[in-house]
């Protein structure tokens, strides 16, 4: 009388259905569903929030030259005007009303400006320099008083409400007597102060940045860049160069990121660059979902054993039906969990993403997701889950409680954490030989292959690693089924590892009475 390894689909479905409903109805499920994305979002959003809500840094400048600071202030204002003109130009007509009136008034004309026109106009607005020539710029220039007065009266808080990238939203220049600066810094009233030398164009000129906190170099770097630009322009003028020549000389080179693909070589879009990091997201999602539900299966099995339900089930069903049903039920729980996370994350980002200016990043990421990768993600999810479920299901059946399961779970967890450690190095160098070799090890295949998906691996890798994985899954399920049927009735001491292997080898169902 051989013991069957085939299953009855109807009974498998009954078990799966019950387990699914039982889990989805539990509070623990909803806590896990809501908490995980909340933690993930917190990790993503907290730095943005901190930056959003931390106010502008107050700084002061001691200008011994007498001319440098006003020039720098003009440059800063020109930068801000460029940003404001860009904002006005890019705001869709329907949303223009949400802009401050001074910006709303110029929005239609601003939309007509090209980049160079915008920069020229911004320069004109900041310095009251010669009027621009472009018709649209001229139209704005002619009504610029409202705009410049509004800008001059902006507080850092109000500026942050318009665009928190504006310099005046981040750094606030205050005027204090030079003698009081040190005390103001010590008292926390001033973040830092700069000293500009009397002869700033001299090679030996000494510029000083003084602050209580030298670790945050944000303000220093920004102000230094502004001063450098003005000083460079002045040095160029002294040397007899025109402003245009000076600008060309000062211009740094900018490397264009190009993505090499089978179709050739082209400038990488933001989405393509973001997509290079998508594998990390895939692996993380795979890891979290597989680990969660494989553990869920183990806990569910242990619970049925300790509740003595297992014996009732064994009297009504074949062990293979029970194991297949439980695995399917828990897999459905996992799919619901991952699906719920994705919906929640996308929903939350849609709601709050724009508030933290993550919208462009998110859409770039979403645009980088290809159907091909989704298909492989699903294939690896199913196979990876079945492989780890085979192991955790067998462990759950063999032991009587979580404590007894720990020694068996440790090596399993080590294997599962390995891809998590490797995911960033592999995503950075997906074509490395070592990454390729490791992806041929079946327990690592789902994670490593997804890690490598940034630079799509050759088809032969997909086929061979999947075939190996599939074969491993079949063998693992078969052996696990045997341990499962023998383990379920074993209420004595948990088996030694060797004993468990012998259970897997022998087919007859035995258990202590």
């Amino acid at each position: 009388m051989p013991w069957s390894t085939s299953v009855t689909p109807h009974k498998v479905w009954l078990v799966a259905q019950r387990d699914y409903v039982a889990y989805v109805m539990r509070r623990r499920f909803w806590v896990s569903l809501l908490l995980s994305p909340a933690i993930l979002l917190a990790i993503m959003l907290v730095p943005a929030l901190i930056q959003h809500y931390s106010g502008a840094h107050d700084y002061a400048v001691v200008d011994d030259s007498g001319w440098l600071l006003p020039a720098v202030e003009q440059r800063i204002a020109a930068d801000d005007y460029t940003k404001l003109l860009t904002l006005a130009a890019r705001t869709p007509p329907a949303a223009v009303r949400s802009l401050p009136p001074a910006l709303a008034a110029i929005a239609p004309e601003a939309a007509k400006l090209n980049r160079q026109d915008r920069e020229d106009l911004a320069q004109a607005l900041a310095t009251a320099a010669p009027a621009p020539t472009a018709p649209a710029a001229l139209a704005i220039w002619q009504q610029h008083t409202a705009l410049t007065q509004w800008y001059a009266g902006l507080t850092p808080e109000a500026a942050a409400g318009v665009d928190r990238d504006l310099a005046i939203a981040r750094y606030h220049l205050v005027v204090l007597p030079p003698a009081s600066l040190r005390g103001a810094v010590m008292a926390g009233k001033l973040y830092a102060y700069f000293t500009l030398p009397a002869e700033p164009l001299a090679a030996s000129a000494r510029f000083v940045y003084a602050s209580h906190n030298l670790t945050d170099t944000d303000l220093r770097d920004w102000f230094s860049a502004q001063v450098s630009a003005v000083v460079q322009a002045q040095r160029a003028a002294q040397a007899g160069l025109s402003p245009a020549e000076a600008k060309l000389i000062g211009q740094s080179v900018d490397f264009d990121n190009q993505l090499v693909t089978e179709h050739g070589q082209q400038t990488a879009t933001a989405a393509e660059q973001a997509a290079q990091w998508l594998p990390v997201g895939y692996v993380y999602l795979l890891f979290i979902s597989i680990m969660q539900i494989a553990q869920l299966l183990m806990m569910a099995t242990i619970e049925e054993k300790s509740n003595r339900i297992a014996e009732m089930l064994l009297a009504a069903l074949e062990p293979a039906d029970i194991m297949a049903g439980k695995t399917l039920g828990v897999a459905c729980v996992g799919v619901t969990l991952v699906g719920g996370w994705l919906l929640l994350i996308i929903g939350l980002l849609a709601l709050f993403g724009s508030a933290f200016q993550l919208g462009g990043f998110v859409s770039a990421i979403l645009a980088g997701i290809s159907a091909w990768n989704i298909i492989w993600f699903l294939v690896y999810f199913v196979l990876g889950f079945l492989l780890y479920a085979a192991v955790t299901g067998a462990i759950g059946a063999a032991v009587n409680n979580i404590r007894e399961a720990q020694p068996y779970m440790t090596p399993v967890m080590l294997f599962m954490i390995l891809p998590l450690i490797l995911m960033v190095p592999v995503a950075q160098d997906p074509t490395a030989l070592w990454a390729r070799v490791l992806s041929y090890i079946p327990p690592l295949t789902p994670f490593l292959m997804m890690s490598r998906s940034g630079a799509p691996p050759p088809m032969v890798d997909y086929i061979v690693t999947t075939a190996l994985l599939l074969a491993t899954v079949v063998v693992a399920l078969y052996l696990s089924g045997r341990v499962f049927q023998r383990g379920l009735l074993n209420t004595g001491a948990p088996p030694k590892f060797k004993e468990m292997l012998s259970w897997a080898r022998r087919s007859k169902m035995t258990a202590a009475s």
């Binding site: 297992a310 009732m312 064994l314 009504a316 069903l317 074949e318 009475s513």
Partner: protein, 302 residues
């Protein structure tokens, strides 16, 4: 009467230990059959083989007309020793679920579950979670779940274990009801009195082996009986009386041990002729004594 269960030389080993050792037994259909034995005697293993949970390593176990237990799961019901309930499930859902697993359709399972839980006095608890039930209630719910598909063969492992006298009576009444409904019931117990109360037949198992099996009346008839006699006068030599194997005489009170098959009526007639009888009390050997003798004998031999 045909056999509901037929066990032929069945053995079951766990490692080198034989939990059941060359066991043979025929259980007639429609009877109540008790499996008696000490803890660890092999009762549960035997019942699990009958329920199709375990497979014998040697020999044969067939049920309901020669079928392998696993092939007739929709016709058998098995109640394990300990309460197996899904703690978080509603009572109605849990009972109906086991009906589904045993082949009932969804509607039928729920209808029956509702009717039977209500009939058993659990009507108000059908929407409660199983972990809110008392042990007695849980046992009832579990019995209903086990029998929802109206099995012809009912296998109960220690159904009285941990129950108070009221709930024990309830289980006894249920078992009698199953018999009236024409089902075959086998159950294991180490409380011999329960078996004595309701069993048509019993098997005594020790160390996985059959010590004694058969109809309760036959077993008792073959066991040693005794008679308590209060008398006045001189009865003479007790051993010369018909059917008496030995006597313990205290003058006016004696306990006479009877030979198997002794005719107590003939003994009473003889005694009345010799002495004045104030009391003549026939004592059948109790199943407990028979059980202890069977198991003691084994222990002595060991």
């Amino acid at each position: 009467m045909s056999a509901a269960i037929s066990i032929r030389d069945a053995s079951k080993y766990f490692g080198a230990h034989a939990a059941v050792n060359q066991l043979s037994l025929e259980v007639p259909a429609g009877s109540i059959y008790g499996f008696l034995g000490r803890n660890g005697a092999g009762k549960t293993t035997a019942l699990r083989m009958i329920a199709g949970i375990l497979e014998p390593d040697a020999g044969d176990v067939t049920v309901l007309g020669g079928s392998a237990p696993r092939d007739v799961r929709t016709r058998t019901g098995y109640l394990p020793e300990e309460n197996g309930l899904y703690k978080d499930m509603q009572v109605l859902d849990m009972v109906a679920y086991f009906g589904l697993l045993r082949g009932l359709d969804r509607r039928e399972a729920r209808t029956r579950a509702r009717e039977r839980l209500t009939a058993a006095g659990l009507g108000e608890r059908i929407e409660s979670k199983c972990n809110t039930l008392s042990k007695g209630m849980a046992q009832k719910a579990q019995v209903i779940a086990t029998l929802l598909h109206d099995p012809e063969l009912v296998v109960l492992d220690e159904p009285f274990s941990g129950l108070d006298p009221v709930n024990s009576e309830m289980v006894l009444a249920l078992i009698k009801q199953f018999k009236r409904e024409g089902r075959t019931v086998i159950f294991s117990t180490h409380v011999v009195e329960h078996a004595e109360q309701i069993c048509d037949a019993v098997i005594i198992i020790d160390h996985g082996q059959r010590k004694l099996a058969g109809r309760l009346a036959d077993i008792k008839a073959q066991a040693e009986r005794s008679v308590i006699v209060d008398y006045e006068g001189d009865a003479g030599v007790w051993q010369e009386l018909p059917g008496v194997r030995g006597a313990d005489d205290a003058g006016q009170h004696a306990e006479l041990r009877l030979a198997p098959g002794a005719d107590t009526q003939a003994l009473l007639r003889t005694l009345v002729e010799r002495v004045r009888i104030r009391r003549f009390d026939t004592r059948e050997a109790s199943l407990k004594q028979i059980f202890l003798d069977a198991v003691e004998h084994e222990r002595d031999a060991a």
